[in-house]
C-alpha cells in the first residue's frame, strides 16, 4: 500500500475498484470491474479483533468468485467503524488536554442542558479526559485575534514533564479564540514536537477552527484520542496489503460523504467518526442520479435504529455538527436523523393504558421473541411475524427459524390482554404506532428544511426497512417508494461511487456588507489555495479538482447559521439574497432590512474519481411468483402473493398487498401500491389513488 503522491495522478489505470464497508457483523463488498461494467456484491463475516483480516478475506473470496486478479485492483475505498467503535467502547488512547489556564474544566462542564426533564438520578455527561489530565497553559487570545497574554514559553518544559508523568499517549490542544489566531497553539505544537517527537498532538485550530469553546474542545479531544487507535489500524492494514500483487490506492470514507487519503485519516481520524451513514447517503445520491429522481428521502432501518437522510436537487444534505455518544463533533457530516426504532424495538402498555413501542430495544441479543434466544418482550419484528409479513421458515434466506407460537403468546400477554385486543389487532397496532413514529422522523427531517414530503420519493433500505416503507410513505403522502438492489450492502454501493472530499473552514464574524469584502476575499483565497494544495498532495489532477465555496450566515444576533452555497464569485448581493430566501423557506420568515452576518467561510475541495458506468443485472430464469402466504391485512387473514425479487423480470407488475422476498430482506407492498423493476435493478412502488 502506498499513499497517493503527486507523481501518481488518479486514477490508476487498473480495471477493478472495490468498496468495502466493515459493519458490526458483516464486511460488505461491492466490486466494479470496468472491463465488463459489472457490479457484484459479496459479504464475509467481520473480524472485530482486526477488521483488516476480514477485509482481506473478502477481497480474496471476491477475486476468486468474480474472476479478477488482486493486481487488477486499482482502487480500494474503505468504510470503517473503527473510530466510531473505539469511542463507543472507550478503547481510546490515554490523552491529556492543554487549555488556556483557568478553563481546564470547560470539557467537563459541557453545555450542561439536560435532555430528560423528569429524571431524578441523572448520569454525568460523558467526558473523555479526566480532570487530572487537563492542564492549563499560561496564555490568552482575544476575540479579535490580538494577544492579551503572550504564551509563556518558559512554562512549556514543565507542561511536558507533566505529560510524561501522566503517561499521555496523545495530546489535545484547545486554546480560547484559536479559531481566529492559532499562533499559540502552533507554537505549543512545535515545542512539544521538538521535545517529544513521537507524541501525537491535535490542535483545535487544525481540526475544527470554529467558534464555541466546548464544541471545539470536544472535537479536538476526540481526534487526539483516536490518532493512535486509527494509526494502529492503518498500520495493520498496510501489513495485509501487498500480498499477491494487491497494490491499490486506498481511501477512507469520512463523515462528510466523501473519502480521504490515508495521510488525512491518520492525522484527522475524527473525520471518520460518523462515516457510517455516509455510504447510505452516497448510495442515495447515486440512485437519485441513475433514476432521475433528484428529491429522495432515504431511510435505513435495521435492528435498533432508523436513519433518515435527504437528497434534495441531487445533493446530499451536509450539516456542520454532529454528535457521538453525547459528545459534539464540530465537523461537516452527512445530515442524518436517527431515532431508536428498529426491528428490535420493544412494545408494552403502561399503567395509564398507553401502548408504547421503543425506544427500548431487544437488540440482537436477546433479540425478538421470535429468535428464540430468550427474548420475552414482543418487538416490531415479532409483530411482522405474527401478521404473516415475515416467513418463519425463510428469515435471512432460511438461515434462522422463527418461533411463531412464542411470538403470538408474547404479543397476547404484553400487548393484547392489557389493551383488550386479540393478537392480530394488537400486532397491527404495534406496527401502526411504529410507522407513525418513523413517519414523524421523516417529516421532521424534511420540515427542518421547509420541504414538502409530497415532492419526494422514499428510498428504503436496511434489513427491516422494506417491511415498513410503503406504510410510512402512505402516512406521509409520499407516492413513490424505491427498493434498491442489495439493500443489505447498499452502503458499499454508495462508497463505490464516492469522491475525495476535504472540508476547510475559517470562523470570522463579518457583516455581509461591501466593506467586509476585502477581508472575505482574502479568507476565501487562502482557503482555496490550501484546498487546491491538499488535493494535489492527494494526487488529484487539476482537471479533476472542484472547489465549492459556502458561507455560514445568520441575521445579526442569531446563534445558528444557515450554510449558504456561494455560487457566484464573491457577489455579496447574490449571496445575501440566497440567505434571505433560504431563511424564508426553512423558518417561514425573512427580513431583507435586517443586518446579515457571515460567521464561517467554507471551501469544499472535491477530487473527482472517475465513475465508470455499471451494467444492468441479468434476470434469472426462475419464476418470479413464488406462491402465496396467509397475511393479516386490513382486518382479516388473506392469501397474499409472495414474489422472488431476484427472479423478477422487467415486465411483471406486483399489485399490493404483496410480499417481495430476497435473501436478506423482505418487502411489504401495501394495498393501493403497485411495483415493478426500474433502472439499476431497483424495485419501484407507486401509489395509485385508492
Amino acid at each position: 500500500m502506498r499513499a497517493a503522491e503527486e507523481d501518481h495522478p488518479l486514477p490508476e489505470p487498473r480495471p477493478v475498484r472495490i468498496a468495502v464497508d466493515v459493519g458490526g457483523t458483516f464486511t460488505d463488498l461491492q466490486v466494479l470491474d470496468a472491463r465488463s461494467g459489472a457490479v457484484r456484491a459479496w459479504k464475509t463475516p467481520t473480524t472485530p479483533e482486526d477488521p483488516s483480516i476480514g477485509l482481506m478475506t473478502g477481497v480474496r473470496e471476491a477475486a476468486s468468485r468474480f474472476g479478477f486478479a488482486l493486481s487488477d485492483v486499482g482502487l480500494l475505498l474503505h468504510g470503517t467503524t473503527i473510530a466510531t467503535n473505539a469511542v463507543l467502547e472507550r478503547r481510546l488512547a490515554r490523552g491529556a488536554l492543554l487549555t488556556t489556564a483557568g478553563f481546564e474544566d470547560v470539557l467537563e462542564i459541557t453545555r450542561h442542558v439536560r435532555k430528560e426533564l423528569y429524571v431524578v438520578d441523572p448520569d454525568p455527561f460523558p467526558c473523555l479526559i479526566p480532570r487530572d489530565r487537563r492542564l492549563g497553559v499560561p496564555e490568552r487570545m482575544r476575540a479579535d485575534g490580538g494577544v492579551e497574554t503572550p504564551l509563556d514559553e518558559g512554562a512549556v518544559a514543565g507542561l511536558i514533564a507533566r505529560l510524561d508523568a501522566l503517561r499521555a499517549e496523545a495530546v489535545a490542544v484547545c486554546l480560547l479564540h484559536s479559531y481566529v489566531n492559532p499562533a499559540h497553539e502552533r507554537r505549543l505544537a512545535e515545542m512539544i514536537a521538538a521535545a517529544r517527537p513521537g507524541l501525537p498532538v491535535t490542535l483545535s485550530s487544525d481540526i475544527s477552527p470554529e467558534i464555541r469553546e466546548y464544541e471545539r474542545s470536544s472535537t479536538t479531544v476526540l481526534n487526539a484520542l483516536l490518532v493512535p487507535v486509527v494509526k494502529a489500524y492503518l498500520d495493520r492494514l498496510e501489513t495485509r496489503l501487498g500480498e499477491g500483487g494487491f497494490h491499490p490506492l486506498v481511501f477512507l470514507v469520512q463523515s462528510n460523504g466523501g473519502v480521504c487519503s490515508l495521510a488525512t485519516a491518520a492525522a484527522q481520524p475524527a473525520r471518520l467518526l460518523l462515516s457510517g451513514p455516509s455510504g447510505g447517503a452516497l448510495a442515495a445520491g447515486r440512485i437519485a442520479e441513475l433514476l432521475g429522481r433528484p428529491n429522495l428521502v432515504a431511510v435505513d432501518m435495521g435492528g435498533t435504529s432508523f436513519d433518515v437522510s435527504v437528497v434534495q436537487g441531487g445533493r446530499i444534505g451536509v450539516v456542520t455538527q454532529g454528535e457521538i455518544d453525547g459528545l459534539p463533533v464540530r465537523l461537516p457530516m452527512v445530515e442524518m436523523r436517527t431515532i431508536g426504532a428498529g426491528g428490535g424495538s420493544i412494545a408494552g402498555v403502561d399503567a395509564g393504558g398507553r401502548l408504547t413501542v421503543g425506544p427500548r430495544s431487544a437488540g440482537a441479543r436477546p433479540g425478538p421473541v421470535a429468535y428464540g434466544r430468550g427474548g420475552a418482550e414482543p418487538t416490531v419484528t415479532d409483530a411482522n411475524l405474527a401478521l404473516g409479513r415475515l416467513d418463519p421458515d425463510y428469515f435471512l434466506g432460511g438461515l434462522m427459524k422463527l418461533d411463531m407460537a412464542a411470538t403470538r403468546a408474547a404479543i397476547a400477554a404484553k400487548v393484547g390482554t392489557p389493551l383488550g385486543l386479540a393478537v392480530e389487532p394488537a400486532a397491527q397496532g404495534m406496527l401502526t404506532v411504529t410507522n407513525a413514529n418513523l413517519g414523524a422522523a421523516v417529516r421532521l427531517s424534511l420540515f427542518e428544511k421547509g420541504l414538502d414530503p409530497r415532492d419526494f420519493a422514499l428510498l428504503s433500505f436496511g434489513g427491516a426497512g422494506g417491511l415498513h416503507a410503503t406504510d410510512v410513505a402512505t402516512e406521509m403522502g409520499i407516492r413513490e417508494v424505491i427498493f434498491p438492489r442489495e439493500p443489505g450492502t447498499l452502503s458499499a454501493y454508495g462508497i463505490l461511487h464516492s469522491d475525495l472530499v476535504q472540508d476547510l473552514a475559517r470562523s470570522r464574524v463579518l457583516s455581509a456588507r461591501p466593506e467586509s469584502l476585502p477581508a472575505i476575499a482574502a479568507l476565501v483565497a487562502e482557503l482555496r489555495e490550501e484546498a487546491a494544495a491538499r488535493l494535489s498532495r492527494d494526487g488529484v489532477a487539476p482537471e479533476a479538482q472542484l472547489l465549492e465555496v459556502g458561507a455560514d450566515m445568520r441575521y445579526r444576533g442569531q446563534a445558528f447559521e444557515l450554510l449558504v452555497p456561494w455560487l457566484e464569485a464573491l457577489d455579496l448581493v447574490a449571496l445575501t439574497a440566497r440567505f434571505h430566501a433560504m431563511h424564508r423557506q426553512r423558518f417561514s420568515y425573512a427580513d431583507e432590512r435586517d443586518a446579515v452576518e457571515i460567521v464561517t467561510l467554507r471551501v469544499t475541495a472535491i477530487g473527482r474519481l472517475p465513475k465508470p458506468a455499471s451494467g444492468e443485472p441479468a434476470p434469472s430464469g426462475r419464476p418470479a411468483l413464488k406462491g402465496s402466504r396467509r397475511v393479516f391485512e386490513d382486518g382479516a387473514w388473506r392469501d397474499v402473493p409472495v414474489w422472488d425479487r431476484d427472479a423478477l423480470p422487467p415486465e411483471d407488475r406486483i399489485t399490493g398487498p404483496a410480499i417481495v422476498e430476497e435473501a436478506f430482506a423482505t418487502h411489504w407492498i401495501g394495498r393501493s401500491w403497485t411495483a415493478s423493476l426500474g433502472p439499476a435493478g431497483a424495485l419501484i412502488a407507486t401509489r395509485s389513488d385508492a
Binding site: L117, A440, R556
Partner: protein, 545 residues
Amino acid sequence: MPLGPIEIEVIRNALTAAAAEMDVTVWRTSRSTIVRELLDYSTAVFDAEGNNLAQSARIPGHLNSMSHLLRELLDRWVDPASWGHEDVVITNDPYCGGQHLPDIVAFKPVEHEGRRIAFVGTLCHHIDVGGLAAGSYAAKAIEIFQEGLRIPPLKLIENGVRNEGVWAMIRQNVRKPELLLGDLSSQIASLEVGAAALRRLAARYGADSMIEAGRRILDMSEAAIRAAIRRMPDGTYEFTDFLDDDGIDLDQPIRLHVKLTVAGDAIAVDLSGCSPQVTGPTNATLASSNSAVMFAIMTACDEPFAANAGCYRPVTTIAPEGLVVNARFPAPVVHRVAVTHRLLNAMYGALHQVVPDRIPAAYYGNSYVCTFQTIPQDAPREVLVEIEIGGSGAHPAKDGVNAFASGMHNNSNIPIEMIESQMPLTVTHYALRDGSGGAGMRRGGLGLTREWRVDSDRALFTANMDRFVHAPYGLAGGGPAAVGRLTLTRADGQELPLAPKSDNVPLVKGDRVRLDTSGGGGFGDPAARDPDLVARDRALGYVRP
C-alpha cells in the same frame, strides 16, 4: 374514525412532534443569547380548554405553568368567542396568570371544520423588558411597576395582521429592542409551525377525534400518576427550607413550608405555612408555585408517564393569597424562580420521607441570574444576561452530577467566545468549584466558578441570587453543599464581597466579578463512602484534602 389505543398513541406522538418542531424553530431563529444559547424558552400544545397536551423538552417551570396561564386567559381576560384563529395573544403579566415580566408568552388557537381544536403556545425569557435594571431582573424592586413593561393579554396579531402599535410600544420601552422583537418574531414563526402541524393531523383524524384524543391523553397520564401515588404510603409529611431574604429586608429568611398528605391515589399539598409575601421581588404567583409542586410529584412517581395537564389532576395545592407562594398585586415577582426552586427543595424534603429510594438531596436550588450592561464611550450599550447553575444533589444510588442544570430550570451556558466576540467583556475564569458538593456516601455534584472582567469604560452589574446563607441540604446523614459567594475585585486589586441581590453596581474597566455557586447536598453517611471513590475525589480535586 374510531379511536382505539393505537390511534391515541399515534396522535399523542404527533402532538409531541409538533411541540418539538416549534422548539427547533425558536432555537434556530432567535436572536438573543438568553434564548439561543441559554435556551430559556419552551413550546407546548394545548387542548381547546387550555390544558397542556404535549411539551418540548425545555424548561419545567415554564411548561407546567403555561396551562394555568392559558386557562386564566380564557376564563377572565380574552373573550374566547372573539379570539380568531389568525389572532396571536401575548402577555407577560404575572397578575393575569403569568410568572414574571421577562417571560412573554404567545398563544394561537387552531381551528378545523370551523371548530377550535387546540392552542399552540411559546414562552421566551426575553433579554430585557425595561425597568430599573438591565435584564429586567432588578433585585431591589418593591412594586411590579419597577420591573419593566407589563403587557396585558392583547392581540399582537389580529386577523393575521401585526398590531404595529404594540410592536412600536414595546420597541420604545426596552433596552435591546432588535433582540426582543427578533425573538418575538421567532415565537410567532414557531406558532405558525405548530398550528400547521396540528391542522395536518386534524385533516386526517377530524375535529371530533382530535378533541376526544386530547381528553383520553390527559386521562392516561392522570391514571399513570395515580397508579404511582397509590403505591406511596398514606400519611402526612412536612418539610421546611428557607430562602435567604428578599433583597430588601436583609437577614429575614423566607420560609417555604410544605405539608404533603398522601391519601389513596391523590396528594394534597398545603403551603399555608409559607411566609407572607415580601417587599422585594422574591415572590411568586400561583402559576409559578404550582409548577414546582407538580414537577416535584411528577418526578417522584416511578411510573412512566407522558407529561401533560392530566398529571396535575391527582394533586391539590392549598396556597392562600398574600403568601410568598401566591403574591398579591402589585408585589414585585421577578425573582419568582428562586421561590419555585426552594419550593421544589422543600417538596423533595417531604417526598424523601415518602419514597426514600427515589429522591435526591437538595440541588443548588437557584438560578444565578446576573446582568452586565456595558457602557462604552462611543459604542452602543450591550446587555448580557447570564444564568448560572450549580451541582445536582446526590441520589440514594448515585453521586450528584457536577455542573448540572437541575430542577425547575434547564439552562445551557453561553460560550465564552460568543460573549467576548459580541461585547467588551472578558471571562477570566470558568471552572468547577472544588469542595462545593455535600459530603456523603454519595457525594453532591460540584458547583461552578465564573469570573467576568469589564473591558468597557463603564458597566452596570445586577445580581439576583440566593443560597448564600441557607445551604442546599443533605439527606440521610449526608452533608450540606457550600453556599454561594459573589466577589468584586477592583482594577487596583482590592477585593470586596458583593451582596447576592444587588442592582446597578457601577463598575469600571478592569473590575472583575467572581461568582461561586453551590453544589448539591450529599446523601448518606460520609463515613460509608467507598474509599476508592474518596481517593479518586481527592486525586481529581473534587474535594479539598
